[in-house]
Assembly symmetry: C2
Homo-oligomer: 334 residues x 2
């Protein structure tokens, strides 16, 4: 008689455990040999919000069972976990950088929970230096999913700190950080211009969308002056009865996102290469609406490219010897 | 025998009690017949921070004895005390407006503490409306002290909400509010870019001044793009070891003040009329340094023009019939 366990289909060995470990959250992905996510977990345990036991406890709680079950499966981690204030610092890789350069910068870190491959962030040096940690993996994932972008593109990652990365010839040639999301939250929560919305009732999807577009249009119309002298109109339009209190924050959001676009286009001298948005679909949709106000149409969005990027970087680093790498060995592709 | 009291020199009747009653403080001035301040008081009792007894208690505590002693002396008040959330709302006067228009907009308010003449704020209508309350009195005071400005000038009032007022032919023809001071405080206290300075030690007057100038220069060099994509350099320059933690806030301040100047100059198309700074000398000095980075030299500062402005508005309103008015009756001067 067959033992019941014998009826189970042998479970395939996963290809990779990938961690996106940022300031405010820890996301873990179990990936198969082709880079597909087969399981996922998340906790609000960013490096600024660790549980009592610190990094080790967070790691053990979130992926300890995966590690116990598949001890041979490599673990890779990107984000602020590799920063100066993280678990272990991994030096930045300088732009221009392709996936090979990022993979070459991986730091194998023998933690108390076993070996973790820490992905380096990117550094743009020069008179206006800039840094990223974590977004490089999302960018690599976006290029993996949309190979046509590799020739020449702008990859935009909206968020608290929005990154605009210039891609040329499969390399990240440079990037700029915009504090748009953080500025919006600060103005909403701490400024006099955020006050009317705090007690506001009403407002519809349509009125809010119109207020957002109005803010974007005002930013565009500000020309070379920019919105520095327009931010206060969030309050004065309300005081003059020309903007409902419930719509003021959408107008403010439009001003700030519009200023970001205005600034990027001014830097580019007006010519915008193919542009793709990466991240939360709702936020990407706002940026797409703003692009349309600036006459930039057909911008697409990609969601959750980070896990695929981690897989691609691991592959380039030779961490997945038993599995094919779609870009390195295109013949393997489905 | 003479009564001892008879030996006292008869105390002259003061001309005016002037109140500058804003959001965060109440300042009171006793002015003589020529607009000179002969006594002053201040309490942190702005309209958002009133004592338990409200407006009446604040008023009584600060100027009750003046009022009891000289019941005939008129009382005038400017600032947020006349706003929708103030003691009594006084409608804005629309730009362009001269001292006569402001005086004509005064609301005589019969409060529980007696008659108070509430000075109206200014409104700039149009697609980018703007408002001020209190600054109009400082502007009128500046024009009274420097009559040469009345022909054509920019009067700049740095602060939490910096106002740039355009003066032409003795009228305020328009103005723009910049949130520079408020943005600085928010970024310092609530943003990741303010964090390094929180634990910083060291920094000298010279290093801080250099960091400020560097920020202003970066804003100027940003050209039409503006500083949206430069704010994060406050952090990345620190991370790259190119800016000391103790100097980061001065660099940030330079970026923000520089952006304000860049934006104003872009709006003006590069040509800047004679410019005067009005307000706190330390803050005005920073703006003067920033102007110098933009090649605008010879900008002067005026301190505490508000009381003289209140006196001038009261005079134009006919509240000082027993006293001469220097502008209306120049022969009385000096």
């Amino acid at each position: 008689m067959q033992h019941p366990d014998d009826t189970r289909v042998p479970e395939p060995q996963p290809g990779l455990v990938g961690l996106d470990w940022g300031t405010s959250s820890l996301r873990a992905y179990l990936l198969d040999g082709t880079g597909r996510v087969v399981d996922r977990r998340a906790r609000p345990w960013g490096i600024q919000h660790l549980p009592a036991g610190g990094y080790a406890e967070a790691f053990q709680t979130v992926v300890g069972d995966w590690r116990d079950r598949w001890p041979e499966t490599p673990v890779i981690a990107a984000g602020m976990v590799g920063s100066r204030t993280g678990w272990r610092e991994v030096p930045y890789v300088e732009c221009p950088a392709d996936v090979g350069a990022i993979a070459a910068g991986i730091l194998p870190f023998e933690s108390e929970c076993g070996l973790i491959h820490l992905v380096p962030g990117l550094l743009q040096s020069g008179s206006a230096p800039d840094v990223m940690r974590g977004e490089e993996s999302q960018i690599i994932g976006a290029l993996e999913r949309e190979p046509a972008l590799a020739a020449d593109a702008l990859v935009v990652l909206p968020g608290t700190h929005c990154k605009w990365a210039r891609i040329h010839d499969s390399r990240v040639t440079g990037f700029t950080t915009y504090l748009t999301g953080e500025q919006f939250a600060m103005l909403r929560d701490h400024s006099i211009i955020g006050r009317p919305a705090r007690d506001a009732v009403g407002g519809t999807d349509a009125s809010r969308a119109a207020a957002f577009s109005r803010g974007v249009a005002a930013a565009r119309a500000s020309g070379a002056a920019g919105i520095a002298g327009k931010l206060f109109t969030t309050r004065s339009l309300f005081l003059c009865g020309e903007l409902a209190a419930a719509d003021t924050l959408d107008y403010l959001s439009g001003l700030l996102v519009g200023e970001e676009l205005r600034s990027v286009l001014a830097t580019l001298g007006g010519a915008c290469p193919p542009c793709v948005l990466v991240g939360d679909p709702t936020l990407c949709s706002r940026y797409r609406d703003a692009c349309a106000v600036f006459g930039i149409e057909g911008v697409r969005s990609l969601d959750e490219t980070g896990p695929l990027g981690l897989w691609r970087i691991a592959s380039a680093a030779g961490l997945l010897p038993g599995f094919c790498s779609p870009i390195v060995e295109p013949a393997c592709r489905g």
